[in-house]
């Protein structure tokens, strides 16, 4: 591995949003009052835009270097230096993190601009932007950190900002609870992450090369070979623990339950955090630690299958949801599942590519739904919408493009990235046809429910009440321009990773090769194209189109009634998916109530046993002190009194010498003289 090139501007990518956040947090109230919301917008959006400019600079600098040398390191200062453990505030820009920072600052910047329009009527405008900037700072720390600990700082930071932003309108208990749920479920995952980090460091330390810095870990990871932890390979245990963290952060089974509830937050938050950036942290983390995951085929298997099951499972729930944001939330969980399928079969570049294209179209979809909600005066139920394309042409067009992308229709970016993943799932040595089949089924469902959403919202008659209909309008430029940019990217983004099978050179995969080829026996079926790939591609397009047609029949032309499906099997399957398989209720009964039961047990133990011991020892002390009292009264006082009595007695005796009689005294004097004289003579 080559030495990275030392630079000093990466830290500004991270710091600029932090500065914006601090200014808006501390002085926001005053600034908003004195200079208006426009000043807040400028303070918030400028840093992100500047960070994007710097991210482009990073890209250009990396492009100017030969592929093996594409590593920039900005070492700022020493943070922790204790024994083996060395973690500094240092930022690493390599092809992978350059992609991530472009997505975070680019899409993030667009969302910041959109928010200036969307949150226009919000009183706590400054607070929103302070948190949004802080989130951007944390996310950038996460992707640029050169060691596990710094990444974890960002990891936790995005969790915190997610909590704060979901519960932004904390006046409603439901919003605050959703924020808490997100944070707590995330923490469960974070526990796995920290345990993984500890075990990794500990094992490497025992080999003499303890480190948390990614570049050093990549070099020394091979030392983990053959080491076991309670009989299981260390690499497998470590990666499984890290993956637990990923399931929490990236909403996979079993820790996805917070994401649908997170829709309680403002829509730009859903777009930024729960579509484009935070939830992708888990995928990025696997990409960053790909050398470890490649050493643990068992974990990769788990990752791929959890991804596939989540993709399928979330898609089934999305089929029946009526809230416009909820459909998108489950769609996000599902698409994240695809990313993990990609990572799990060793196709790391494909997973990251889907991350990028998903950021484009999902952010566009969420912002578009925000536009719709804004126009509908806060209404989010699609059953009350309809025919909106007449009033909101730009929102409609961008939404349609992004939906085509997510449905996997060529030549849009979603098709390119999702198909790459499905192909790798089929063909990679870690994948299997069964895995492909699950993903394939999920893709069909995705196309269906997304177009269901389009048809219910934008086509047909408007089902909203008269009052709402009067207020329907297209959103202002600050909101529609970002939509247009994102939709364009969703349309053409596929160019970046155009596969070999269609005549491209897959520049994206090549770009990320220096990061992913360290000991990875990943996808190296480089330029050879197998005919079965075309067959699978056709199949994906086919099922996508089938899904769209089915949705059209059910929701546009109304030739097929939805009741046909919802009433199948006595309506039980429909109720099951409509109620999200009752998972939240199950978790509530098992984990939440279980914890509360444990609380009561502990309280009882505290009351009965601990307090019993404490009170008992108090009683014992009182008893001992009573004994002491007796001893003191009878023995000690007795001695003292006896001494006094003896003294009195002796004194009485001696008192009697004092007769007061002068004659007596004289007599004694004489006797004494005689005694002395006799004694002297002897």
């Amino acid at each position: 591995m080559e030495h990275p090139i030392s630079v000093d501007y990466l830290r500004w990518i991270v710091l600029l949003p932090l500065i914006g956040a601090v200014i808006n947090a501390l002085a926001g109230v005053l600034i908003q009052r004195s200079f208006g919301k426009r000043a807040i917008s400028v303070i918030a959006c400028t840093p992100v835009i500047l960070a994007f400019v710097l991210a482009v600079r990073v890209l250009l600098q990396l492009l100017s270097l030969p592929p093996e040398q594409r590593f920039l390191l900005d070492h700022w200062f020493t943070w922790i230096d204790v024994g083996d453990l060395r973690a500094d505030i240092a930022f690493l820009a390599d092809p992978l993190s350059s992609v991530m920072i472009l997505v975070v600052t680019g899409v993030g910047g667009l969302i910041h601009i959109y928010s200036t329009g969307y949150m226009h009527d919000e009183k706590s405008y400054w607070r929103f932007f302070a948190w949004l900037n802080l989130f951007t700072f944390a996310m950038l720390t996460l992707v640029l950190g050169d060691n596990i600990l710094l990444m974890f700082v960002g990891w936790e930071g995005v969790g915190l900002c997610s909590y704060a932003l979901i519960g932004f309108w904390y006046g409603e208990l439901a919003n605050a609870s959703a924020g808490s749920k997100a944070f707590i479920v995330n923490r469960v995952g974070d526990f796995g992450f920290t345990l993984g980090a500890f075990l990794l460091f500990w094992t490497l330390s025992a080999e003499g090369h303890g480190s948390v810095v990614f570049r050093e870990l990549a070099q020394h990871a091979h030392l983990l070979e053959g080491k076991t932890f309670f009989g299981v390979g260390v690499a497998t245990v470590v990666t499984l623990l890290f993956f637990v963290g990923a399931t929490g952060k990236s909403a996979q089974i079993p820790l996805y339950v917070w994401l649908p509830d997170a829709m309680a937050g403002p829509t730009p938050v859903s777009a930024l955090i729960h579509a484009a950036t935070m939830v992708t942290a888990g995928v990025y983390m696997i990409g960053r630690l790909n050398f470890l995951f490649s050493m643990a085929p068992a974990t990769l298997h788990v990752v791929a299958w959890i991804g596939a099951l989540t993709a399928f499972f979330a898609a089934t729930i999305g089929l029946a949801q009526n809230d416009i944001k909820r459909v998108l939330a489950y769609s996000t969980v599902s698409q994240l599942g695809y990313m993990f399928i990609g990572m799990g079969v060793g196709a790391y570049a494909a997973g990251i590519f889907h991350l990028v294209t998903h950021a484009f179209f999902k952010a566009c979809l969420f912002l578009g739904s925000g536009s719709v909600i804004h126009a509908m005066g806060g209404e989010q139920d699609m059953r009350k919408m309809g025919g909106l394309k007449k009033w909101m042409p730009w929102t409609y067009r961008t939404f349609l493009i992004s939906t085509l992308a997510i449905a996997g229709i060529p030549p849009l970016s979603g098709f390119i990235s999702k198909d790459e993943i499905l192909w790798k799932a089929f063909s990679s040595e870690h994948g299997s046809p069964l895995l492909w089949l699950v993903g394939f089924a999920g893709a069909g469902m995705t196309a269906f429910y997304m177009f269901r959403q389009v048809f219910m919202t934008f086509y047909g008659e408007c089902r909203a009440d008269h009052h709402t209909q009067e207020h329907l309008h297209e959103s202002p430029a600050t909101m529609t321009y970002p939509l247009i940019v994102l939709a364009t990217l969703a349309f053409v983004g596929g160019v970046l990773g155009w596969p070999h099978s269609l005549g491209g050179s897959n520049g994206f995969e090549e770009w990320l090769a220096p990061v992913f080829s360290h000991g990875a026996h990943a996808a190296h079926e480089a330029a050879e194209v197998e005919p079965i790939e075309y067959a699978l591609m056709l199949a994906s397009v086919g099922i996508g189109v089938a899904g769209i047609l089915l949705a059209r029949a059910m929701y546009l032309t109304k030739t097929l009634s939805p009741a046909t499906f919802s009433e199948m099997g006595e309506g039980a399957p429909y109720r099951l998916i409509y109620n999200k398989y009752y998972i939240d209720e199950i978790y509530g009964a098992v984990f939440v109530n279980g914890t509360l039961l444990l609380t009561q047990l502990c309280a009882a133990f505290d009351r009965i046993v601990i307090d019993g011991i404490v009170n008992g020892s108090a009683a014992l002390t009182r008893g001992v002190s009573w004994l002491n009292g007796l001893f003191d009264n009878y023995v000690i006082d007795g001695i003292v009194n006896r001494v006094a009595d003896v003294t009195m007695g002796v004194g009485n005796r001696f008192r009697q010498l004092q007769t007061g009689s002068i004659n007596g005294y004289l007599y004694v004097i004489v006797v004494g003289v005689v005694v002395v004289m006799v004694a002297r003579l002897m």
Partner: protein
Amino acid sequence: MAVGLQHYLFVSLILFALGLYCVLTRRNAIGILMGVELILNSANVNYLAFSRYGSGTYDGQVFAIFVIMLAAAEAAIGLAIVLGIYQTFQTIDVEAAETMRG
């Protein structure tokens, strides 16, 4: 019969014994003081006797004059004390002065 040393010593002894007897048994304070005088004078006779018959020098006689002076001083003090006793107890009977009885 020649009067020798032992005769004088005998006289001194008798005087001493009488003085001692007075000191020990009299109830009258002045009587006790008289007894003390007798004892002192017996000592004087003793000194004079040894001065005449013993060493032949005049040291004893000089000393006897010291003793007489001392006796006078001491008698003055003693009488002052007796006066104090009288003022306190309205009597000079020493048996009355037993307030120091423990």
